[in-house]
Structures are given as C-alpha cells and as structure tokens.
C-alpha cells in the first residue's frame, strides 16, 4: 500500500472493515506513525459524534399510533375489496361505525387548531402537488372523489367539489400538528381545476371536534369568524372554512374569497355508496 492508499484506508480500519491482511499492514504502519493513529481515533470519534447527534433526534409523540391507524385503514380497504367480490359488506359498515364512533379523539372536546397548520399542509401538499399518486391506500389508484370515499371512510362526508369544475389531484394523511398531538386522524384530499392548474382547493376531514384559531392565543379568546355553522379564517392569501357533521370536522382551504369557499363547503354531500348514505348526514 502506498501512503495515499494507506491514508484512505485509515477510516475503513477505524470502521473495522478491512480484511486481515490489510488490517495487519495498517497496524504495522500505525505502530510507526502517531499522526495516523490520531487520524484513526478522530475517525472513530467523528462516527460516534454523528451517531449521537442522529439518534438523539426526538420522535414525534403519537407517531406509532398514527402509523398503526394508517395500516388499519389500509386493512379496511382490503376488507372492502373482499366485499366487492361478493362477501357481506359488514367490514365496510364496521369501518364507517369505527370512523364515526370509535376512533380515538372522536369524543374529545374541541381542539383549538391554528389556521396556519391547515394552510401549511395546503401549501406543501396540495399546491406543490406532493402526492402525485394517492397514497391513502398505500398503493395508489383513486382517481375520483367517489373512489376515494369508497376507500377511505373518513372522506365520506366531503363536499362535492368536483361538481364545481375541480378534479381530484391527490390525497394524503397530512394534517396540522395539533391534530397529530391529540391523536386525531386527518384525511387531506386536494382538487385542481382542469382549466386553471393554479386554482387548488384542499378538503380536510378530521375525526374529532376542532375549532379554527387565527389569533395564536393560548387559550384562544374566540377569534372565529363566519356563521355559526361555517366558521372561517385566513392565513396570508389562503382562506379557510370549517364546519362539523356529527363526529367529523371538515375544513376547506383555497386561494379565494372566504365567501366563495363557504359556498363550496355548502355543496351537497355525495355519498359514494348506499352504505355511506345510511350513516352520513
């Protein structure tokens, strides 16, 4: 080994990755060269430092619960596929019942959610079109709101935004941090106008009661605007409107006047199938 190769192998020696012959050669060199010994010690210290820095990264609270819930939702989809093959639709009905009455957070008091959290997801996921394939199921495939509603029970009560000239562009489970912290599940579907790709609307369904907050106060003194049924707020150029149906809260976000967004929110509910029609208002 020439000196250049020798230096290159010092880090590999520090990792314990050399074969016995190379190791013996390096060790003979190290016995003669204190500078190389110091290099080896520093490579080891650097790796330990990197390890320490990275494993100390905090993991968000409730992450495992949210991953489990996602996997559970994915299973429900598979159950629904069995239903399509002619098996009883009990699995789907059970999923809807779970969505409305059993899921964690459904009985909790209203959670105060900053409008900026929804607006941030709108900008990140919807405007930047983060999810080209719909990863609600984990394997893509939903092309329409009806398909999405059939696959994800939480989407069942979303307003019929496609009837206003939008098409479903993507969906994900992203939501504001407050929802994640309280263990609520958030389904985010976003829509884009076919004739204007810059016109994007996000629709969120949250399986707990939330109130929109624009003031950032803790606790919020009650800063909501809009009507008793449809509360609204703004974050920069993004308008938001929030309303509740039974145990589910819904939020729309888009770059348009709040009044127009409220009209979209007031659109008719389009249940995907008779199963949903029985349980969704």
């Amino acid at each position: 080994m020439n000196p250049s190769e020798m230096r290159k192998h010092l880090a590999e020696y520090a990792d314990g990755e050399l074969d016995p012959a190379q190791r013996a050669e390096i060790e003979a060199h190290l016995a003669q060269d204190p500078a190389s010994r110091a290099d080896v010690a520093r490579w080891q210290a650097l790796r330990q430092c990197a390890h320490r820095a990275l494993v100390s990264e905090p993991v968000p609270r409730g992450l495992e619960d949210r991953v489990r819930a996602n996997l559970q939702a994915s299973r429900r989809v598979r159950s629904r596929r069995l239903y399509r093959l002619g098996l009883p639709g009990l699995a789907v009905a059970a999923a809807v019942v779970l969505a409305l009455f059993v899921w964690p957070g459904s009985e909790a008091a209203a959670t105060n959610v900053q409008v900026s959290g929804f607006a941030s997801v709108y900008r990140r996921c919807a405007v930047e079109r983060r999810h080209d394939t719909l990863n609600v199921r984990g394997d893509g495939g939903c092309k329409t709101l009806a398909e999405l509603q059939a696959e994800a029970p939480l989407a069942a009560g979303l307003p019929d935004i496609p009837s206003h000239g939008y098409r479903l562009d993507g969906a994900c489970w992203c939501g504001p941090p407050e929802c994640k912290e309280c263990g609520a599940r958030v389904l985010h579907a976003y829509f884009r106008r076919s004739d204007d790709p810059n016109d994007v609307v996000s629709a969120f369904a949250v399986d707990c009661a939330i109130t929109l907050c624009t003031c950032g106060g803790t606790p919020c003194p009650g800063c909501q605007r809009g009507t008793a049924e449809f509360r609204d707020g703004t974050d920069g150029d993004v308008s938001l409107v929030c309303w509740k149906r039974q145990k589910i809260s819904y939020v729309l976000a888009g770059r348009m006047p709040r009044e127009e967004l409220t009209k979209l929110a007031q659109g008719e509910v389009t249940p995907a199938s008779p199963q949903f029609a029985r349980t969704v208002p």
Binding site: R7, R42, W43, L46, C49, A53, E64, R124, R130, N135
Partner: protein, 184 residues
C-alpha cells in the same frame, strides 16, 4: 394477506419505527415531510409484505430501502425531471480530491455542526452516511439496504466522510479553534 401476516408485519416492522423516522428526518429536513415519508414507507412495506423474505439482516434494511427509494422518487418528482446529480458521475468526478483527515476537535460537543454538515451532502452520500452513523451498519448491510454494490458504498462513504471532514475544518477555521490540522 392473512391476519397472522398483518400482525407479524406490525410485530416485525414497528420496532424499527423510531430508526426509520430518524433517517427520514435527516433526509427530509422537515418534521412534517419526515413523518409523511415514514407513513408512506410503512404503507408500501405493508402492501408488499407478501413479497418480503426475511434475509440475513432482517426487515430493517428492507424498510430503509423503501424509505430511501420513496425519498429519492419524491425528490425527482419535485424537481420535475431527471436528477440533478448523477451518483455515478459524482463518484467519478470527486475521486481525485485530496485526502482530508478529520480535524482535531472536541467531538463531544459537535453534534449540531455534524448535523448541519450532513444536511449539506448530496442525498446519495447522505443516505450512506446516515446508515453508517445512525444504525452503525456494516458496509455489507448498507449495500444490502440500498441495493448497490459494496464498492459503491465504500466509494460514497469515503466521499461523504471527506466532505464532512472538510466542513468541520471550515467550521474550526471560522471559529478559530486551536489545534486544527492542516489539510494535506
């Protein structure tokens, strides 16, 4: 997929959730994006669990392979075109740079600087370095996780370490820390 398989997926995969998240966090930079990556990784892994075969190193390298592929695909999509940096080209063009040993610093107190230096690396190098540092994987395990030859792992790790060492040299110079070894 049978219910026993579903349970075995959770039993096998979820113990590695924290590790997967930590790697995702450094790949994606933002907490929100990292969690999104983790969710997609586990859904994909679950959907493909029928095809998973427990190999020498268990399920963790497989999860990390899905994670890194998902991350690189997203990045490619976000750039709306081919990758800006071809890893093979990177491997070749930087092969002749002068050797930089790590500077003589107090590595007990450099966690933040190391994290920042890591964030500056090209994703292909960062991925290798993350598996090497966070998980203390051997070169063979990294090759298995990323599905690349072991020679590629060694070459990328060498370049990544060199860049890390240079970044720390720069940091030491900026801070005028004593005892910094001159690069050769």
């Amino acid at each position: 997929m049978g219910s026993a398989d579903k349970q075995s997926f959770e039993a096998l995969a979820l113990p590695h959730l924290d590790t997967v998240y930590r790697v995702a966090r450094r790949l994606a930079h933002h907490e929100h994006d990292a969690e999104d990556l983790v969710q997609e990784t586990f859904l994909k892994a679950y959907a493909a669990f029928d095809r998973f075969q427990v190999r020498e190193f268990g399920i963790k390298p497989w999860l990390l392979k899905i994670l890194t592929n998902t991350f690189l695909n997203r990045r490619q999509r976000a750039e709306r075109g081919p990758r800006s940096t071809d890893p093979q080209t990177l491997d070749e063009t930087q092969a002749d740079e002068a050797y930089a040993g790590p500077p003589d610093l107090d590595y007990e107190h450099l966690d933040q600087e190391v994290k920042q230096a890591l964030d500056q690396l090209a994703p292909e190098f960062r991925t290798v370095l993350l598996l090497w540092a966070t998980l203390e994987f051997s070169y063979r395990e990294i090759a298995d996780a990323l599905d690349v030859p072991i020679g590629t792992v060694m070459s990328r790790l060498h370049r990544a370490r060199q860049q890390l060492a240079r970044a720390l040299h720069d940091f030491a110079r900026e801070q005028r820390l004593p005892g910094v070894k001159t690069q050769t």
